[in-house]
Symmetry: C2
Subunit: 408 residues, 2 copies
């Protein structure tokens, strides 16, 4: 068996979409795939069995969060992340680059690495490309990520400098890797600047890594800008390696990304939305906390095959969310994760069947997309509110004030 | 079939313990039994399937909470509580008396009923014996409770007046009942005063109700006082009816209560403790948040057959609790509920086998009991802290500030 081989099964005749699978030591990932995010070692509110039932083939975890708490060495001593989480299928760990660079005012970058303060207790820490690889080797995921510098999308000079540093760090990550049972993916950076993105893709392809991610997107740029970058970068990446669009996205993003050759996605959106009462349906996102659902005896979505819709009325789930019941967060999360995974399953099957373009047209004509401005406002609210990665509680008791939010 | 028949299977030769079962329209409840509490229509953090797997034969819900939100008429329109919660087994609803009388300063009692303000939004409401029965008929539980006045345990005059009113209200509840598929239980009151308790038991027995509860205990009196009341009251209750000790209790309380002839218990303790990191073991309660469990690769309790202990290390569950992950609340709750139900199952089997006294001695010699003072301090902390039944947010957004706590 060739470890980490991407097998291409079918190419869509009308778009850049492709179907295949990626082999890992913990099983095959059918692609295109969507990975639910278990930032701190658990997909929020969900059990491994519920994730399996929802159709998850891989899940993600976060190096920054797990490094800080409970610590990667501890996880290694308890048998590694698969055992720790009781997830026997593929896991991908993000490198923590995105999180560290989100800590504005609390981190200082130099050529060798980044010094930052913990969002939990304000303690000082340092990440280097070598340390991040070592941490990910302790965690033991199947796919690990290079340590990258994620620049704001609208500053060309910084985007270029960050991209160049990301390249030098990718070389160091590659050289630092000691385990052969983990696939180290490179991360293409370069903001919204075509020439930078092209340069980044070409540089990383030279390293001959087993997979490539496209980073630094879905961070505030427009959808058109994101699509342009995907259209530019994907064709520059090798056909025999998976292409991973990091931190994306919404249901419509799956179609847009797959159309442009993306094989892998991850996002906290389904679980985070769920906890705030945002439920995904083929017609678009609904706010289940609205009064109109109070008396709905039918499920959240007619015909949905998820555990929630098979067993509970929309009225019940709404009640639990209004009453802040934990079980409501579970039921909403299960529905949304199943929605994303079922949609991705339909996408993959349609590529195999040669009907992807039709499915895409049908889906996008039905699905009401949240306008960019509303989406950005929501993101800003979330960042300034419960997310609090930027607001450490130095003297605190080790917990985020009132927040059970701590994703991506 | 006789509805609501209590069948006595075995009497313990050495104590007042007895084993039997109670038939309801939704199945038999093997007794003695412990009922996990789903105050707002969900046992906190747990699914019906998890409750079944943990061995629950009945669960409780609360009339006060469900009346306020989402409303009993709404639940009736959505098919009743069993359908609403997806729990096809027996359900018991408490009458809300305990909750309403907990609203000190926010309720006014008169002979006809109680006017009170909602802890959710400060709105004014009124409960009468008739309205509370009507509400419980809308909810549709198998066992419903009389509306009672729960007095502070240390005031004889108030205890007597409250008891007398409870008796008059019991008669009215009994007369108000229109559904024959629900068992209306009477509630013995009388504080810690033997003559009042005896009078209350005798009065209620005259009503020939299908079951009797002992209320107003575990509200601050000593264990010795509670035991004395049980020893007095249980023998006055009919042998062919179940005896229910409300709101009790801890693992040791199960043994003490069963020894004194109690058939049914309920308490939020296992789930509330779990969410605060308190895990039940045969040696007593442990605080899983303590550093000593960080590296524990074994389960929370060796030999435990719960889902949590079968699949996760203590170190993982501790990490999730420290990181405020919802899945940690689930895993801890599952362990504690299974602990209570397994213990109750062992108690019942030992009665059937004639070995209850030995099991009781073994259990109580191993299990480290929380001292009364510490328990009361904990209760006081909880009441003044997250519970907030006494502190309505009149102008709020309809949710308890920051609290996902909302249990009896």
């Amino acid at each position: 068996m060739i470890p980490f081989a991407y097998t291409l099964l079918q190419r869509d005749p009308h778009t850049g979409a492709r179907a295949g699978h990626f082999s890992t030591p913990h099983g095959e990932i059918p692609m295109p795939a969507f990975g639910p995010v278990g930032t701190q070692g658990a997909v929020k509110a969900m059990s491994p069995e519920e994730l399996e039932e929802a159709g998850a083939s891989l899940i993600l975890a976060n190096t920054y969060h797990l490094y800080l708490r409970p610590g990667a060495a501890l996880i290694a001593r308890l048998g590694g992340l698969h055992t720790f989480m009781n997830w026997p299928h593929p896991i991908l760990t993000d490198s923590g680059g995105f999180q560290v660079f989100s800590l504005e005012g609390l981190r200082e970058v130099d050529e060798d690495g980044v010094t930052f303060r913990s969002h939990i207790d304000g303690s000082e820490h340092r990440f280097t490309p070598e340390s991040v690889v070592a941490t990910q080797e302790q965690l033991g995921a199947d796919v690990i990520m290079c340590f990258d510098e994620c620049a704001a999308p609208d500053n060309r000079a910084y985007s270029e400098a960050a991209m160049e540093r990301t390249h030098r760090w990718a070389v160091r990550c590659h050289e630092a890797q000691t385990r052969s049972d983990q696939a180290l993916f490179g991360i293409v950076q370069g903001g919204i600047y075509p020439e930078l993105r092209a340069k980044s893709a070409r540089f990383l392809v030279e390293l001959d890594l087993p997979g490539y991610a496209i980073g630094g997107l879905s961070v505030g740029e427009s959808k058109a800008e994101m699509h342009a970058m995907l259209e530019l970068v994907a064709p520059l990446l090798p056909e025999d390696k998976p292409r991973y669009l990091m931190g994306v996205g919404s249901p419509e993003d799956l179609f847009e990304g797959v159309s442009r050759g993306i094989d892998l996605f991850d996002c906290v959106l389904p679980t985070r939305l769920a906890r705030n009462g945002g439920l995904l349906t083929r017609q678009g996102r609904i706010n289940l906390r609205n009064a109109q659902y109070a008396e709905q005896a039918g499920p959240i979505e007619e015909g949905c095959d998820c555990y929630t819709c098979q067993h509970y009325s929309a009225g019940y789930v709404r009640h639990l969310l209004k009453a802040r019941e934990i079980f409501g967060l579970r039921l909403a999360s299960i529905h949304n994760v199943r929605f994303m995974l079922r949609t991705m399953g339909e996408i993959r099957q349609s590529i195999l069947d040669g009907t992807f373009a039709a499915l895409r047209e049908e889906f996008l004509s039905e699905y009401r997309i949240i306008p960019h401005a509303a989406r950005e406002a929501e993101r800003a609210r979330y960042r300034s509110g419960t997310r609090s990665l930027k607001r450490p509680q130095v003297a605190g008791n080790g917990s985020l004030g009132g927040a059970i939010e701590d994703e991506r």
